[in-house]
Amino acid sequence: MPLLVKVRSFLRNLISTQRQEEDLDQEVRSHLDLLAEENVRAGMSPEEAQRAARMELGGVEVVKEQVRNHRKGEWLRSVFADCRYGVRQLRKNPGTTAIMVFTLALAIGATAAIFSVVYGVLLRPLPYNEPNRIMALYEVTTKGNLSRVADPNFDDFRDQNRSFQAMAKYSDGIVSVSGALQPVRTRVGVVSADFLKVFRVQPMIGRDFTASDTKKGAAPVVLVSNGYWKEYLSASQDLSESHLKIDNAVYTVVGVLPQGFQFPSDVALWVPADIDGENTSRTSHNYYGVGRLRDGVTVEQANGDISAIARRIHNAASDQSDYLLEDGAVVPLQDSITGKTRSPLLVLLGAVGFLLLVACANVANLLLAQASVRERELAIRSALGAARARLVRQFLTEALLLSLLGGGLGVLGAFLGVAGLIELAPENLPRLESISVSVPVLLFALLLSTAVAVGLGAFTAVRATSGDLRNALGEGGRGQAGSHSGTRVGRVIVAAQIAITLVLVIGAGLLGRSLMKVLEVNPGFRVDKIVAMEVSLPWVDDPKAKANQATFFSNLIGRLQQIPGVHKVGAASTLPLEDGGLPDGMFLLMTQQEIPKKPEDFGALFRQKERIGAADFCVATQGYFEVLGIPLLRGRMFDEHDGADSPHVAVISESLASERWPGQDPIGHTIEFGNMDGDLRLLTIVGIVGNVHQYGLDAPSRPTVYVNLFQRPRAAITVTMLSDADTKQVTSAARGILQGLDPEIPAKFQTLSQVYSASLGSRRFNLILIGFFAIAALLLATAGVFGVMAYSVSRRTREIGVRVALGAGSRDVLSMILGQGMRTILIGVAAGLAGALALTRTVASLLFGVTATDPLTFAAVILLLIAAALLACYIPARRATRVDPLVALRYE
């Protein structure tokens, strides 16, 4: 029963406070009366009796307060009281409150939005069972880079390791897939037997691959993703009749994977690797490796294990080419997916953190200004017995109200912001689908708001309640002394704001200059007016079938040339600047007589340094160079005489010519580059063409060997069309022509300018965001300067009045105020400069063509910031010059 009584009292204390209070008041007063009565009975006069009673009671309000303090739920009631009082305070200055809430909302919202991206991409665990036990496996090249794994090396890793419970290799590519419906270009994963075991995924319908499915010559089977199953197999439970034509071979659908399993990303179908037999080369790096650690094995142990196996392979190999692995490495899968995006994302998070600091500084200044107006009120409360802790709590409560309000609005804004960020995000940002305002993001926003509140509240509270509050009362509320130190603190805050803003704006400036420099780079080809069509035919090995494909492409190009408005048509393995790029490898300089009889003897030739060269390998047509405007510098281009049976020819990029044949003429030399396409016929170099930035405008152009599509056919090409006509018309005409030739072949269209623009995606993304943060910080800092100066001028009205009365001219006043402002600004700029010099190094990897301490950017940004801050000082300074001494002196 006592528990019930306690709960009842708790609730009564919270709910029926009014009645409680009246009851208490009556009780204490009746006590007073009883005391007085007693005193009268003891012989005192009524006045004396009253006085003695009061003495004994010790103050009605004090007793009541003591009772209140001991009530159950008192803490909660006082929190409510603080909140009520806080809300009243905030409503008293609706303008200031709105500014503070909006400022915090902007900063907290932006931070939460960026955190959503950071969380989704970097921190959120991968959606698999015990994802942190899944590792990516790599070979390490002689240069120390991570590379994909060659088949025999993978087999050794898998069979000899003691660290993994399951290991698989995989790769993926886009091929044409047709089933019941239209042919569709589909991303297909090629995986070894234990692939699903690594991820601990079971098909929801049907079965996993078995060991026999992955043997050479096994009947082709395929696993489909949940999405593909729903879209193309009409979600049928019965798979017995489901077959898919992939690359012209018929595959039996044996299983459907559960919703949400999507690895590698965008893959819709998985087929077993090695049904055509394994590649026996230890230097053909065709597969990614992935494995699940055994229980209790650490990443370091696994690394040592794989590394030892790799070094054994390296030492045992007879063919010690540069392409042979040097070492092996194990990296957590999540890190391997997000590796490159980590530092730019952390830079963004840092930048938005700076914005948050600048915003908090503004709010802190506004709160300080409010607190100095409240000095008198604080003094009265403290005189009435409020402990300092209680006043501090009051400030904390107010700050919490503000920041939760701001945080709430900010989170609403973050929902919009995240949608915008996803829209804006570059195509190569991994794990885009896992970015959302999730529960951890909301928790983060709540924590952030609380931290901001504690910071702001504690700061203002300590500032406002320090010193002797009785002085404030004594001064009749003018509080000149307190306010003087108040404006000094305000100026320190503003200087810090300027410093942080300077760092941000310099960062944005460096990124902006980098983008400008990148745009100045001559890509080596024409960008506009080019429509590209990706076409992939089934992969074939037989030379005759390959020749047929060449004829098909020749036909296709011929017909495309007839489209009205299309001037020129060409084709190449892939477009420059596209993800993926070209294959690269080592070629041999040799003559016809030097070609070894046995393939094994090639190994020895690769050890002769004077014979080898390294280059990218691109299959192209003559038209490709004309469409893209890649200039022929020397020699000749491919032409119609270069048929399949005439000597095979190659043109090389200028960079290859100068790198491999410095001071010589490469034209006429013959090279062997058969490891690229299996064709061992020699290539005669007939021409030199201009360099192309294949891997991005900010990446150096790489040495390239171009071969003729009609001599070295390949199944997948990108057709390029130079046209004046409307892109849509060209696209539909081209699609019609392709369908007329073969309705089974799907195509993908895009313009080269789209590819060009997409290649700048991450740069643009970083610049837009950091630029936005920098501009927001600049506005906030300017507002901060303005606020502090205006406040300082209003506080000094009387002093200025005296100065004017004593003969100071408006120029003197103006220069006094501006001088005061300038000192603050310069201190901020100096601090910011030091910060920028130290911090811009972190963005060095994002820069191009400018150093992290680019003097031009630094100078321009410093001038901009000083100009903006001075302008913000000028308006209050002007107001100061208009002070009428008569009014000012009467003012108080």
Binding site: L4, D23, S30, H31, N69, H70
Partner: protein, 110 residues
């Protein structure tokens, strides 16, 4: 003696108030005077300690209150022991006995 020492011994004030109510309901002043009487004029419980204690004990459910008329027909708030209060009195008494025995032992030791 002022009420300050009673604060030092948490529970002593409770014990005295409970004890003062054993003989029947009393208002605040009545309790204060009764305590003074039964402690041989030693403990003068001032309102600043008395009321918080009364309200706290009421919330604990040891005493209950009602409004009534004093001997001189003044309205006053009266307190009386509840069942839980009587139990608490037993607990507090035992505790006090133990403390006073322990203190006595300590003082007797040489």
């Amino acid at each position: 003696m002022s009420s300050a020492p009673t604060n030092l011994l948490q529970g002593t004030l409770d014990l005295l108030i409970l004890k003062s109510l054993v003989t029947g309901e009393r208002h605040g002043l009545g309790i204060s005077r009764r305590v003074l009487q039964i402690t041989g004029q030693t403990f003068h419980v001032k309102p600043g300690s008395l009321f918080p204690a009364l309200h706290r004990m009421e919330e604990e459910g040891w005493i209950s209150s009602f409004w009534g008329d004093s001997e001189n027909n003044r309205r006053a708030k009266y307190y009386c022991l509840t069942k839980a209060g009587r139990k608490q009195l037993e607990v507090e008494t035992k505790r006090w006995d133990r403390i006073s025995w322990a203190i006595a032992q300590a003082l007797e030791a040489s």
